[in-house]
Symmetry: none
Subunit: 231 residues, 2 copies
DNA sequence: GAAGATTGTCATAATTATGTTACTTGCTAT
DNA sequence: ATAGCAAGTAACATAATTATGACAATCTTC
């Protein structure tokens, strides 16, 4: 089955964010275009068939709300809002306009991708109940929808961070992932957090894996480079 | 498939570094230009289509940050920052500007090339998950993603230096590599280390190769010239 | 708002890696 | 054969990296 990559338009005026978002999207196999203002975004959207829009609410000139309103006249493609303001009010306003989801900064790669996937699935003729969103490696299965990790010995109870961390590792099972990449994936682009913090979370993760009856050695440390989930 | 070599612009005022970096890039098949100041760099970038920029943060006159900011108005090509300052703060500042990666001095050839490759791959329509990053010679396969060295008898457990050393040798399998070149590849340009140190690491490497059940003679000594990995 | 869970940071301990030196072994050319 | 250089080896001190436990700050939930 040959799939055409979904086309996504990212609209934000901060290069650091567009950079981060497009990096994440492309890595995931999406086709991402970038613009830094609403006018150009609208023009691009008129000329091309995008499958999804990622809009910052705060934009110079035409803001995200306004842009979304205009886009609705052209297309039914879903919209994912980004915003620094984490208030309930913003959330409601955004969704009322017809935006389909909302993501507060700062967000990690994994969180972003999850939302994007969900929106795209929703758009393409309903959901596929069979296509469960999960990762399996070395006897552990991680269900991204249910946010659970489990294997033969039952479930492993994880905190959100631990889950994201494990997911990042398992997604690249068999490959080394650097602390920096883990921070980018599970924390976010503005990782003001120390890379040492990853060590602590790895320790907690191993403890819980062990406590649940699995091999804590599944999470291998690769000295000098990072960590690796056993393939 | 014929590929045009990627064009890379290296900007640094220290000749020892530009020399080292351009040597490494050219050896890898890239087309590298050099300038020692921001103004000329910007002019060159305007006149040519570079695929990647390697910028030192510390530059006389216009510094790396400023240059990056200006380049962003001209091109979307990724930027790799070099810096002596290894602080977290610098890192964040660099990435916020939209630069794509960051390398702290001192770094070895292999590390540099790895980053450059990653950045260029990122730009060109996503990654190819199937294209595993590995070197094979004489029954040993070195997987750069997993950071493992293995053959029929199983894995060889190596320290970071040993891994880099073996990688340098295997990359030139069948050819003699001098101690100086090995230092440059696996250590860095500022090799304040004695060439005799290479001997010690070779010894350790051979021991581990032997312990894992392989022929330690795979790493051959070429008296008077250096070492060679059996082709 | 209180109890509990989650998270990030730090200090310290444990572990492992690295570079150097001094010494031994082996090759090579006269 | 043997002096002289090149490489192999072992031991050691130092450096770097990771694991761990404790703490405070923050966020949740009732």
């Amino acid at each position: 089955m040959i799939e055409t990559p979904s086309r996504i338009l990212v609209v934000d005026d901060e290069p650091s964010i567009t950079e981060f978002v497009s990096y994440a999207l492309r890595k995931e196999g999406y086709d991402a275009d970038i613009v830094d203002n609403g006018e150009e975004a609208f023009a691009l959207a008129s000329a091309n068939n995008y499958d999804l829009f990622v809009l910052d609410i705060m934009l110079p000139g035409m803001d995200g709300y306004e842009l979304c309103r205009r886009l609705r006249s052209k297309t039914t493609a879903p919209v994912l809002f980004l915003s620094a303001r984490d208030t309930e009010l913003d959330k409601v306003v955004g969704l009322e306009i017809g935006g389909d989801d909302y993501l507060a900064k700062p967000f990690g790669v994994r969180e972003l991708i999850a939302r994007v996937r969900a929106l795209l699935r929703r758009g393409q003729g309903g959901e596929f109940p069979g296509a469960s969103n999960s990762i399996t490696a070395s006897g552990i299965t991680l269900d991204e929808d249910a946010h659970t990790a489990a294997g033969d010995h039952g479930e492993i109870d994880l905190t959100p961070r631990e889950f994201e961390l494990l997911a990042s590792l398992m997604k690249s099972a068999g490959k080394v992932v650097s602390r920096e990449d883990l921070l980018r994936d599970a924390w976010g682009w503005e990782y003001l957090t120390e890379t040492k913090t990853v060590d602590t979370h790895i320790k907690r993760l191993r403890d819980k894996i062990h406590a649940a009856g699995y091999d804590p050695g599944l999470v291998e440390t690769v000295r000098g480079y990072g960590y690796r989930f056993k393939a």
